[in-house]
Amino acid sequence: MAEVTYLEAIREALIEEMERDTNVFCLGEDIGAYGGAFKATEGLLDRFGEQRVIDTPISEVGIVGAAAGAAHMGMRPVVEMQFIDFIANAYDMLTNYVATARYRAMLPCPMVVRGPSGGYVRGGPFHSQNPEAGFIHTPGLKVVYPATAEDAKGLLKAAIRDDDCVLFFEHKYLYRRIKATMPSGDHVTPIGKARLAREGRDLSIITYAATVWKALEAAEQLEREDGLSVEVVDLRSLSPLDDDAIMSTTRKTNRVLIVHEDTRTGGIAGEITARINESCFEWLDAPVLRVTAHDVPLPYAPPLEDFVLPQTSDIVTAARTLAAY
């Protein structure tokens, strides 16, 4: 079978789920005739009609709220944020309404909010964000952020089938750069399970999304130049976190580096560090270290963006510090 890109994998998942279940429908800005800002929904309008591929007004609150109402009635809406940065507009609806619906009112809210996320693309402050931490903090939401094309497809299918709201972050840097042959059959990746992206013995890098690939690059360099055996764990799901995978790699290598593209303060690396501290303190040979973005809005100019975001060389530096501790 031919290889498909991360973006095409997302489209395959949408098509397969819409064909499988007539309750699945898409809504978002410019997703119909135009096929979406990144063409994730290209061809869906022709295939499923405008009842199931709905071009909406520019109303993040409106469409997330409408998705929730439809979900209460048994539908399975998939909302596209044109850029995930705009999910902040729907923060109230997601955190106050959607996240609490099952708990406070026994109202199921099976829906997906997905959208292009992340930087390294010279997108500037409003087309590059990684706002996942704000939602990981909210009980009632699930958050996934795939790094591979296989997981982009498998996790989106799992998200659509999940009985609660799943925020599905897609890394736009990976959309057309990452390809894979899709597993055959009904390929569903379970939410809440991390993936071992590379096995190693000396230290562990825990990461997700685009920085998985930077961590893998760094691991190769460290093996080549330093003879270090680096394990890379791709979290895939950020809520719920796969504690078993985090603790098992910690107990195996005793040295942990957490890498994410999100900013440092309040980022998920702090949460993972705290969990390791609580459960695996005696297994550590060194403090848990972090490589993250700097705590600034993401700037546009290449020298600025590159300075703010974590790079492969930063991961190499941090890993060497950790290995030598």
Partner: protein
Amino acid sequence: MATRVTGTAKRGGAKAPPRADAHPAGLTRAQLLDLYYWMRLTRTLEERLVALYRQTKVVGGLFRSLGQEADAVGSAFALRREDVLSPLIRNLGSMLVKGATPVEILRQYMAKGDSPTRGRELNIHFGDTERGFIGQISPLGDMVPVMAGVTLTFKMRGEARVGLVYVGDGATSTGAFHEGINFAAVQRCPLVVVIENNGYAYSTPTHKQTLAKQFIDKAIGYGIPGEQADGNDVIATYEVTKRAVDRARAGEGVSIVELMTYRRKGHAEHDNQSYVPSGEIDKWARENDPIDRYIARLRSELGFGEGELTEIDARVRREVDEATEVAEQSPAPEPLDALVGVYAEPPREEPLWFRRGKRAAVETNERAEGWGTFSSSNGSTKAGQVAREND
């Protein structure tokens, strides 16, 4: 507002009193009495809640709809069983019409373990999709987009069902109101947006909420019809809402209905209404009480006997008494139930390590005297100042 007299509902062979054939709004005699029953039940139930609040049996704040019973009851009465509404804090009457029961309301206010939300939410914040009402949340305006989605589903499935969402004058200022109504209008969802204009949003008068002369003026901007009615005339309220509901059911999309009413109590029971011009509340109570007005109309114009109404009053008292007795017996929630049902999967959260093996967090759940009143300057407490900051 002048009420139209529509039709003469003939009732098979029954010997009706002389003038009772000419029923307003096509309502039967029994329906006209139903409207009275629901309004009376709303008021009596709230009066009972006030008594329970003063006995500190109501855990949080208490929200009254005194003076607004007609707008709540009359508008909800325009819906069918299969229709769905989303109430606001002053729509107890609407919820009762849609099938909520007094015992549920009492259990909610008293935070009982067998209340509809099992003690998770306050007051009348609860719903039941089977009976067709969807529980609101406190951020105002949010239910408009949600109801847009509910009614979008009706449209997608070709179901002849209608949704109704209540907003107050205050909620019209939110972005969610605008986004929801605009989305629903564009999609031609079968949705009725009822704006209950009761003069105040908490303490803020309507003229500080908008420069629009009336809220139905906003309908023009959305390309949808808007109609206004006297919200303290239960039949006018029913009729205007019914027209909007009929339009929605016929596939004609969204309408705004503005019901003019007046909030005679504060935002919640703790609110002393110091911001209200003197005499205003009394004037509304004296001259424009929706229940008094309806009784007068039933008696004089529609030919109902006093006995028929006092019989309903007695029935309502009995029902509220019985419900109170049942609700007071209800147990408090089991503390560990706090960890159940955030997600479908996993079905429950694990207690944190410091709470493992414990059934409760504290010995008693009484709120400490002076809770939250510690002063940073001298460490003393300002006792008695806080009582109900959750209102």
